[in-house]
Structures are given as C-alpha cells and as structure tokens.
Symmetry: C2
Subunit: 474 residues, 2 copies
C-alpha cells in the first residue's frame, strides 16, 4: 500500500503554538513527536517509508523534510505545491505520480495533523480497506460520533457490501445542532475523518468522471515536476506547472468526487480518532491531572480546574482558573475561555487584519538553511540568535543600511567577508561592515549558533542584496 500525507494545514486554531508559517502538523501538540511525526510513525507498520508520499507547500518543505529525516523519508517523495488548491487537486496529482510507478497501486490518504489513539484497530481497518479498494471502491473511514458535533461532515451508512463494509447512502455537510443530535441518536451516521483508501486508477477514473477540469490537467502538471532549486531534494513544479496548478479550482475531494461517485464504501472505524481541531480538543486526547488540568512547561498552578496551561521556559503562574486555556510562546500569549477555543481562528484573523505579524509568523523563523529568532530590538539595533544546520549556508549577501556583529556561541562557522574567508570557532567574533559582501556557512557536522547584532538606522529584513544562493532565492 502507498500512503499520501496531506500536510497543508494553516495552523490558525492552535495559535500561538502554530502559525501560518509553522502550522499545526509541524508542532508538538500532544505525544512525543510533532503531529506529522506521529502520523508517519502510526503508518509505518503498514506502509513502508519508500511508499510514503507527502504534499505540502513551499514554505514548509524544508522543515517537513527535516522532521522526517530520521524516518528515512525519501525527500523526492515530497511535492511542494505552489499554492493551496484543496484536496482534489493534491490527491489527483499524487495519484498520477504513484500510478506512474505502480499501475496497480492502492493508495491511502491521510491528514497530517490528526490523532488516532487505537493504532492497532487503525491498522486492521486500513488492511480491510485495502481489500475493498482492490475491488475498485473508494473507501472512507467513518468515525462513530461521540457527541453532536457540528464542525464535521457526516457519512450516512447504506447497504452492507460485505461484513463491516457498507455503501454510503449520502455525504452530509456540517449539520446544525439539531441535526447533529439526530445523527448521534440515529446510529448510522459517522464522522468523515478525511482518510481515504483507493486504487490510484480508481480515483483518477472518478476524477475524470466528476472533475474533468482538474483531471484533464493532471498529466500536464505531473510533467512539470522538477527537483527544487538548491540542495534540498524535494519536488516542486516549474513555472508552467505553477501556472497550471494555480489556475485550477480549489475543491475538496469530498465535493469533487465522493459526493457524486457510486463507488464509495464506508468502513466504520472505532480507532480513537480525533481531529484535534482546537485547544479544547486536548481534553479528549491528553491525560489530565486530578483537577482536570493539562499542564506543561514552566508552570506553577494553584487551585485551577479543567484548564489547559501550555508554558515554555518562561514562568507562568496561574491561580484560581476554571475552564481556561493559557498558551505561551516567546512572542505571543493566548488566554482564552475554553468554550471559545474554536474562535481562536477568528482571533488570528483579527490579528492579521490589524497587521500583527505574530498572527502569521512565529518567533523562530525557519529558513532553508536553519532558523533565526529575534531576541531584542532597539531604535538602532536588532539582536538575533541564528542557527545554521550542518552543511548549510546563507546566501552571499550585503546590506546597504546595517553592519552586523557575529559571535559564535556553538559549533563552527565559515565566514566570507569581502575577498577573505575565515574559519571561526566558538567564542570568536567578526564584524561585517555595511555594503560588504558576506556569507555565513556551517561546514561542520554540529549545529552552528551565532548571536548577531545588527546595527543601523534602517533595520529591515528587505535590506538584502543576494549574489549567490543555494536555495534559488537570488
């Protein structure tokens, strides 16, 4: 079986832990790994790593590969989409890529940021789904509802196909409260959890039947796949492909195919699934203390009940809270009534409208070469911690309005300054005057950490002239 992970989440509902530029699937929300790592880990008993594919966007590609490096994930199994066009196009393109390798492939599609508590049942259910998929069904997993949820779509169970597998009577859009209560009581409605299992050939046929405008471009787009610029080995689209991709409609696979096809099958799946759609969802998937609290980080809590306190290294002291969510991050803090967790999404929209960069950008900004974190700023200086991954290097660049002072605090650096090249070790410093070409690289095998003091009267990330760049950013 082939696996396709769709990792295109926007990450607004777990703000400030997740941001548009560091979405939920790349964060540790519960468990030991990031949501994405947990998703991969869960699949490995059934799907070998060489059969695993992933679609995400350009911004997350490098960080996504970094997180999957230890699993042996194949970098060229990651396709970086030029923009978000929802699941129909992403799935269609992946089906095309997979069928080119294996015409009989059964592929399973998984969101990157859900939780499955019962891995054993999950694997068994997928195995059952595979046999149905081989009979050319479009198989969906249906989660038995545990509450009258209005935030999910539902699948209505139809006639039995075989033991434990059913036709789908109909797909139901997110219901109102009354209908959700009826569905819960009725017993033959299931949550649509976004996991699908089918032959690549079957889904392509059904795309052709029901989404001809998308289907008709898949060959052309697949022909535009190329290696990403620079020394990261993921795949992306060339200019023609980006144009084609962007011109297609943004449709979900449910809307484009599943609601129309007569080949849809449903397997009820009691697998402890949770979409972890908001901070309040942690209550369902995380162990709580005797007072119903979920607490992590540097926190002192007194007399709190049913509250979620997610700290980091900064001290948080909480007193007498009830049903409250407190989530800290280096540059932004959320305090929210738990019952309002779903509205964090709207809160982030407000932040974006008001121009708060914290709505989209995390304190630590990932770059193809590593990351930087702004630690302090004054009228004429900005202070950053810069981390450069082993073997990586920033572009050869210069700045018109600022000089930079670098001090190595961990690892070793290769610094190009004008026509000279220096090897710098920990506890060594160098100054880069303005208008001087320079490059910072990490030739070692350990992480390089430097403290950078930018000094000037105009300090702006945009004040950069790039002369050479491994990542195609010139």
């Amino acid at each position: 079986m082939y696996g396709v992970i769709l990792a295109g989440g926007s990450g607004t509902r777990f703000w400030p832990t997740s941001r548009e530029q560091s979405p939920k699937q790349l964060q540790k929300i519960i468990g030991t790994g990031t949501m994405l790592q947990n998703t991969v880990q869960r699949l490995l008993p059934l799907i070998s790593i060489e059969n695993l594919y992933l679609a995400t966007n350009h911004q997350q590609a490098v960080e996504t590969l970094r997180q999957l490096d230890s699993y042996g994930f194949f970098p060229d199994h990651l396709i970086a989409e030029p923009c978000n066009r929802n699941t129909a196009l992403a799935i269609g393109l992946m089906a095309k890529v997979i069928i080119d390798k294996d015409p009989n492939a059964v592929m399973a599609v998984f969101p990157a940021d859900h939780v499955v508590a019962n891995s054993e049942n999950f694997i068994k259910t997928l195995q059952k789904a595979e046999t149905l998929a081989q009979k050319n069904y479009l198989v969906t997993l249906g989660i038995p509802p545990t509450r009258p949820e209005t935030g999910f779509g539902y699948l209505q169970q139809g006639d039995e196909i075989e033991d434990g597998a059913y036709q789908v009577e109909r797909f139901v859009e997110k219901p109102d409260q009354l209908k959700a209560e009826q569905y819960l009581e009725h017993g033959k409605y299931f949550w649509n959890c976004g996991v699908f299992i089918w032959r690549a050939s079957t889904i392509l046929e059904e795309l052709q039947n029901y989404a001809e405008n998308i289907y008709s471009q898949l060959d052309a787009i697949a022909g535009c796949i190329q290696n990403a610029k620079g020394n990261s080995d993921y795949l992306e689209l060339n200019g023609t492909g980006r144009g084609l991709f962007s011109s297609l409609p943004s449709l979900s696979i449910d809307y484009a195919v599943m609601e129309n096809s007569s080949r849809v099958a449903l397997i009820p799946a009691d697998i402890g699934w949770n979409d972890v759609g908001a901070w309040s969802s942690l209550d369902e998937v995380t162990e709580k203390d005797s007072q119903g609290n979920i607490i992590s980080g540097n926190v002192l809590a007194q007399d709190c009940i049913n509250s979620t306190i997610q700290g980091q290294s900064r001290l948080i002291a909480v007193l007498g809270l009830k049903n409250t969510v407190v989530v800290d991050s280096p540059d932004a803090l959320l305090v929210c009534a738990k019952e309002r967790s779903q509205d964090v999404k709207k809160l982030v929209e407000s932040l974006n409208e008001k121009g708060h960069p914290e709505g989209k950008q995390p304190a630590t900004v990932n770059k193809p070469w590593g990351s930087y974190t702004v630690l302090d700023a004054g009228p004429s200086y900005v202070l950053k911690r810069i981390e450069v991954l082993p073997g990586e290097a920033l572009s050869l660049q210069s700045h018109q309005h600022r000089s930079e002072h670098w001090t190595i605090v961990s690892g070793s650096a290769e610094v190009v300054r004008s026509k000279e090249t220096f090897q710098l070790e920990t506890n060594e410093s160098i100054t880069i005057p303005k208008n001087t070409k320079h490059r910072l690289g990490n030739p070692g095998s350990d992480l390089l950490i430097i403290i950078e003091i930018q000094f000037g009267h105009l300090l702006d990330e945009a004040d950069i002239s790039r002369y050479e760049d491994r990542y195609g950013r010139c």
Copy 2:
C-alpha cells in the same frame, strides 16, 4: 511641614510587575508616574521638596533616587535602612533626623504606594491636621469605609475635639466579615490609611512613653548615619548603626504608639484613598472600558468582561475572559481569577519556596550603575543588555570562567582592558578574555547600552573578582 515617605514595600501582591527587588512603589501601576512619583507629586503643593524625606532599603536606594531626580529631591534626605524593622523604628529615626534640623517641625508620614484621587481634599485635610499636630496631637486620617473590608485596621471615632476632628475611641485590628459589616453600618468607624501628622517632638515623646526600647537607641543610631559609599549621595548606617538597628524589634507605629497614646486625633478624610493592595484594586482607581475591562500594552481583547489585561510589548490575545487578571512581564506571567487577587501574595511565597528566582528578582536587575537584562542563554553563553547611566561605571573586575563580547548599541563607553583604555562608540565591539581585568564606564551624558555575550562553560554571576568599585562592593 516636613514629609516622610515610607518606601519599604515588598511588592508581592502586584507580582509579576512588582518583585521583592523592584517593589510596587517603584512601578507604574496606575497614572503617569510610578506610585512613588505620584506620591511625591501629590505632596508638593504642601510640602516643599527640601522638606521631604524618605526611608527605604539599600537595594532600592539608587533606583528611588533616580525616580525622584526630576523633582529635585535631596539625595541625602533618603535613608537606606539595613533591614526592615517596620514603621515604629523608621518613623522614630526620621523624627530624630528632622528634629535635629527644626525642633518645632511638624512631620507628616505617608506610605509610598497608595492612591489619593482627590488631591485637593487631601491637601486641605493635611492643612487641618497640621494645626492639630501643632497642639501636640498625633493626628491620623480616617477613611470613610465604602465596603466591609477585612484587610484594613479601623479607627473608632470618639468625642469631638474641634470641628471635623475627633478623639480616637480605639484602634481596631483587621476585623472579621461580620464585624466589618457592623463597622460599615455603624458609621463611626474609619479605615486606618497609614498617614500620620504630628510634631517630631510629640511622636518622640510618645515613643519614649510606649516604646522605650526603640526610643532609647534612636540617638545612637542617628549618630551612625553616614554618606553611602560610592558617589551616590544617600544616607545609610555605619556598621555599628546597622547592628543597633537590626537588634531592635519590628513593630508598627500603630502597635507601638497609636494604640496606647491618649493624644491621638482622627480627621475623617474623604480623599478618594485607595491602598491599591491587589490587582483587583485597579477596578476602583482606573478607568474601565464599556465592558469593565482595564487593558494596557500590546493586547488584542475579544469578548472579555471585567478583566484586567496588563501587557507590555509582547502580544497578548485574550478571548472570552470574565473577571480574569492577566499580567505579563518579560520573564513571568500571571493569569488569575480576579477574586483571588489577594492570594497572589501566597502564590509568590510558593514561587520562592520552590526556588523560582522570578518570585523575587525582576527580568531587569537594577544596579548602582544602571541595570542589566538577560535576553537569552544557552549551555555555554548568556546574552545580556546592559544599561549604564551617564557618569557611572561598573567595578574594575575580572572573571575566571568566561570571556565577554561587548557591542555598543547606544551612547559611548570607556572600556579599560588590562592596561589599555578604549573609547568605544556605537557599532564598535570589544572582546574581554577571561582572567583579564576590565571596566565598563559611561563617560557621556546619554545612556550607554551595550549587548554583552558571555561565553564560557561556567556562567555564574558569582564568578567576579572586584578590584575597584565606586559603590563599595569590593
């Protein structure tokens, strides 16, 4: 009239804004200045700055003087106490200092961290109190209670002395809820607000009558007053004086004198007084928005009611909070049910017990020469922003285990390194190797700001050898 401000608050109830090492009176809690500055400002219409005295502790002396500099406060009118021995001793010593200058002096005593909304009535009341004090009364201001408060002592009004001034029938310790309700209804009970007006000679006589053990040492202690070491001009006690001071009992003036003396007079004072004793007190003294919220700093609030959100530059987003207090600081955050505000004091005790330095020490640590703030730290480095006041200098020092990299980002510095002296301007850097004598000074008239990167495998404030110090810290 002479004024004595008692500025020895411990600052636990306004944590994390106030800390043991940066107490409430030195913070901007409400209004434009710090609590101390507001207190001085309020007195100036009646008490000229040359008649104003202040008692605080050693740790706060320099910062206190800095805050009062713009008022022309006389540095040698500040006495830095070696330890806290409550109000009886502080008042006795101040009375001794003042009577030595003016045997007929009337002195008024004020806490440094209260609010008086009606300054005009306050001044009128003090003027009336002065005439009574001249008749050798110990005058107290009694605040008409507005609620059955159990956190204050009460004064029971006795016979009229003259229009608007009364004997005190008795002093009442903090009552229970039932008694507090009775006092409120009774109408002749007033809150004891800690403002006293008397002749220096009268309070000294009454100390002799009722607190002989304290009184008997006042002359000796006053004889031990000396200029503080270094070029700060406040007063402190020499070694003998410190020993005498510390050996005396810690008694409040209420307990030591007021509850015993028959010369106590009460002036009911409708002056908009508030002790601002907890975060919830802000509700009584600060303007609220239409939803009852008090919000400051970089805050986005949605659907909050009766909540207090005190942010700084870091973004705080709050959603759906009711009766909640959120107070942010660079290194610690408080989130608390407003009704539990009084228990923040206990919360800070817990922090101290558990060894959290944030309970006592603020992110920005005041020093006689300025301040420092830790911005970041790793296994082998600590990053600080250091601010040196004009004309000040750190000690000549060396470190056994760390080197230091300094970059000037504002102002100019004089740096001694081994046998050389350098003048450094903004955008210049210097490295101080370990075991090298060095000194950082600010010879200019502007604030000096440097970024310091300490590097070493043992990074500890205690790793310092001082060779010369203006502030007597060798």
